[in-house]
């Protein structure tokens, strides 16, 4: 039985034994990092964390001296300029913290930092994973704050909130205030309305009734003039752009009924509708706010793009010295040095050294790319194993990373037509409604001038498209909430409409249909005097010293490794060492002499090849199931991969995909999807890498895996937070159900509006019937939508 680590809950590796004392009981930990963190937490009396946390902590890696040095650069005033703001004597910084998983983490961080002298205020937000810290710079340095966070197991980076995010926060707060006013006031207005309803049946003194009307007017005014204002401004904005939107009849009804009610109050004639318009405003606002929140959460989740780029760079001065400068201040043709493990801060040409670079965040392929002199490297990619010097040839907006971001922004402005179609239908509906109301007004003015205004208002109230305007948003909001609970993040409102219409699904290979992690598929023994288990044990022992992704496939094997001596890692080739005084090595097959095979790794003893290892990426266990489901639903499934190997074909055959295409560049993928669209197919694309983000823009629906690059998650319409392909099935089912509910809602509200319209126009609907009808139809629609929450 494997035991799990007390701190991170990951299994403790066999042979490792270390403990921490929690409430008198020894508890196992999985590594020295977790041990140090757990001990710090317990020693400082913060054991509550372990009692109340609802999620496990991340595995802790110890800081290497390099990273510590980098932290010190955060104290540099020039570098701080970008992310530290002065608040009187104090300084304020926003840190993006990795590893916050639940409220207990927030408590832990706040307690740890408030224990430091000079830290005045800490505010941790568990939904955005950010912490705002207000501290006294003379007493404590920023690097020390970040270090003390690391002591309890959290990695932190300075974060620059962009204007867009700040603006969204302001909008969210404005929504909340409007909702608060509408909610509280509506309750009051309803109270007086009920008093008046009773008065209508049992008789009420005129002066009381008049008093109640004035009070209602007073209470309803803030709701209409403050909370309902966005509807009016939207309607006016629409009119200015020569468009009729749903906000127009909504605001006509609200403001019309409000004006009429005011008139009725002042002149003490006719009816007042304050309670209906207040409730209507509140419900409408609530729907809009929930929709906005779902989108806000999605964008916050993926907004930490800044983290991709380091804030500092090691610049080489002409006299050969090194100086740490702010990455932002780098100029064209500056020379900078990058050490292993560091993120490259700018695009440039390699001028000395050689290395392998992890470009997976750009390309989505997990194999590192070899880089020699004159090769181009890109900002945001990670330098693996060599010390390199690059000459910068692109800065700021021109870097590949920023261009990809720009591409996305452009794509966001031209969205699929489905949204436009819905808008057009709404326009027609609104136009018809307005025409009908005007005809009513004119007709009644001819027949019975004193009643004309009241009948027209009655038509607007009774036919007020509130059920109609609630029909789609409430259903969508409920469906989005359900999906969020299931780990499916919907970022665009058109998603649920698009999903049931899909006819084609295209999948990326690495990281999407497969896990993006290598495992050993087969071993071929070349020297028959060796046993497979001995070969494996030796290979595992050697690969332990390598940082290469392929090595991970070996170190995951559960065999007891052999003792080695004189280990040497040879960049670009592999690892060699002495085993029982015999030279052994593992690495690429052509390392010694001319042995060549398709194997990704070969084991050599005395320079002779002994065994070839064939590696493969593991297929996600849910992949066959989801392909089967999709094909059962009449969708054809296709594979579009950047990988050029045979693995693509094998995978396509294994999963029974309809077609496959290998060695696709991002443009190839985009072209393929566009040609499908041209054949009237509705295409969904599932992927994870940055290379998928252009094709995401062409596809009607784009779905990204949580494990993918931040950029692809930002572009995608849907993010699968649990990276489980099975979620696609859930998404499809919920979307189909949503479509049904929306249809029912529309039928319901159109039936109601259609039947009440002629009656109201003939002046046969007394105002209170109009109000009840309007409320009842809205409640019916909302209740119907709520069914989606229970899926």
């Amino acid at each position: 039985m494997t035991t799990s680590c007390f701190h991170c809950l990951e299994p403790v590796p066999p042979g490792f034994s270390a403990h921490v004392k929690f409430e008198g009981q020894p508890q196992p930990v999985c590594c020295t990092g977790c041990q140090a963190v757990a001990e710090t937490i317990l020693a400082q009396g913060m054991s509550d964390y372990y009692k109340f946390r609802t999620d496990s902590a991340g595995k802790v890696e110890e800081l290497v001296p390099e990273q510590l040095k980098e932290l010190l650069s955060y104290d540099n005033a020039e570098i701080q300029q970008d992310f530290v703001s002065q608040q009187g004597e104090l300084q304020e910084v926003l840190l993006s913290v990795e590893g916050i998983s639940c409220a207990a983490c927030a408590w832990l961080i706040e307690k740890q930092l408030l224990g430091l002298k000079g830290v005045a205020r800490v505010d941790v937000n568990t939904s955005t994973h950010r912490a705002m810290i207000l501290w006294h710079p003379q007493q404590y340095k920023l690097s020390e704050i970040i270090k003390s966070l690391h002591q309890i197991g959290y990695k932190a980076y300075p974060f620059q909130a962009d204007d867009e995010a700040a603006q969204k926060q302001t909008v969210a707060k404005a929504y909340l205030r409007r909702l608060g006013v509408a909610g509280l006031m509506t309750m009051q207005v309803m109270m007086f309305a009920f008093a008046m309803y009773f008065g209508m049946f049992s008789g009420m003194e005129d002066n009381f009734e008049q008093y109640f009307r004035w009070i209602s007017l007073f209470l309803a005014s803030p709701v209409i003039l403050y909370s309902a204002m966005p509807f009016l401004t939207n309607a006016i904005k629409g009119l200015k752009a020569k468009q009729l939107n749903m906000d127009l009849p909504v605001s006509l009804a609200i403001f019309g009924a409000y004006a009429a009610s005011c008139y009725a109050t002042v002149m003490s004639v006719g009816e007042v509708y304050f309670e209906s318009i207040c409730m209507f405003t509140f419900l409408l606002l609530l729907g809009k706010y929930l929709e906005f929140r779902a989108r806000l959460k999605a964008s916050e989740f993926t907004a930490n793009l800044q983290k991709l780029l380091p804030l500092t760079a090691r610049k080489l001065l002409p006299n050969g010295e090194q100086k740490i400068v702010a990455a932002k201040s780098l100029q064209l043709s500056d020379q900078i040095m990058i050490k292993p493990g560091e993120t490259i801060p700018a695009d440039g040409v390699l001028i000395s050294g050689s290395t392998t670079v992890d470009e997976s965040m750009m390309t989505g392929e997990h194999l590192p790319v070899k880089k020699y002199q004159t090769h181009q490297v890109y900002a945001g990619t990670i330098n693996h194993d060599g010390v390199i010097t690059i000459e910068i040839n692109k800065v700021g907006q021109n870097t590949l990373l920023n261009q990809i971001i720009k591409l996305q922004h452009n794509a966001l402005t031209k969205r699929p037509k489905i949204v436009e179609v819905t808008d057009k239908v709404a326009q027609w509906f609104v136009a018809c409604l307005l025409i009908f109301a005007s005809i009513t007004a004119v007709a009644w003015y001819q027949i019975d001038p004193p009643h004309a205004f009241w009948v027209t208002i009655s038509v607007l109230v009774a036919t007020c498209p509130c059920a109609l305007s609630l029909a789609i948003p409430t259903a969508l909001t409920c469906a989005v909430a359900t999906l969020t609970r299931k780990g499916i993040l919907i970022k665009e409102s058109h998603v649920l409409e698009t999903v049931p219409k899909l006819t084609r699904m295209a999948f990326d290979k690495t990281g999407t249909l497969t896990e993006g992690r290598f495992s050993i598929e087969s071993i071929s023994i070349l020297d028959k005097s060796w046993q497979e288990s001995d070969v494996m044990a030796l290979a595992v022992a050697l690969e332990r010293y390598s940082e290469h992704p392929i090595a991970k496939a070996f170190t995951e094997q559960l065999v007891s490794p052999r003792q080695l001596s004189d280990v040497e890692v040879v960049t670009g080739s592999g690892v060699k060492a002495l085993f029982n005084q015999q030279p052994v090595a593992i690495g690429k097959s052509a390392w010694f002499g001319n042995h060549s095979s398709f194997a990704q790794a070969t084991l050599f003893v005395d320079g002779q090849p002994v065994a070839d290892f064939y590696l493969a990426d593991k297929v996600r266990h849910s992949a066959p199931e989801i392909i089967h489901y999709a094909q059962g639903q009449g969708l054809s499934c296709h594979l579009l991969s950047g990988d050029s190997s045979n693995a693509v074909k094998d995978l396509a055959l294994e999963l029974g995909l309809d077609t496959y295409k290998n060695a696709c560049s991002p443009q190839d993928k985009q072209r393929q999807v566009e040609s499908w669209s041209a054949q009237q197919h509705i295409v969904g694309m599932v992927g994870d890498g940055v290379n998928d983000s252009p094709v995401f823009n062409s596809a009607h629906l784009s779905i990204a895996m949580e494990t993918g690059a931040d950029i692809s998650k930002n572009t995608a319409d849907v993010v699968l937070l649990n990276s489980d392909l099975k979620s696609l099935q859930t998404l499809h089912q919920v979307a189909k159900k949503t479509k049904t509910v929306i249809k029912q809602n529309l039928t319901l509200s159109l039936c109601y509006n259609g039947s009440i319209l002629p009656l109201a126009a003939m002046g046969l609907v007394p105002p209170w019937v109009a109000v009840i009808g309007m409320s009842a139809s809205s409640i019916l629609v909302i209740t119907n939508s709520l069914r989606l929450l229970k899926l």
């Binding site: 509550d48 109340f52 639940c102 207990a104 927030a106 408590w107 005045a120 205020r121 939904s127 955005t128």
Partner: protein, 60 residues
């Protein structure tokens, strides 16, 4: 019955105060992270810590 001419305005005053409190809560970001605020009650020494930090605020 004419007492309602006085009581209702008083009730309205309370509502206005409630709205003021709500606006203040929105402004001080109490709604930005509902998850954390909901759990904070579980942690015992939160209060003491808070006082300490407040004291420190004053001393600075």
């Amino acid at each position: 019955m004419s007492i309602i001419y006085i009581l209702i305005p008083i009730a309205i005053l309370f509502v206005i105060i409630a709205i003021g409190v709500f606006f203040w809560a929105v402004k001080s970001e109490q709604f930005s992270d509902l998850n954390k605020q909901g759990h904070s009650i579980l942690f015992e020494d939160d209060k003491e810590q808070h006082n300490k930090s407040n004291d420190r605020d004053k001393s600075i």
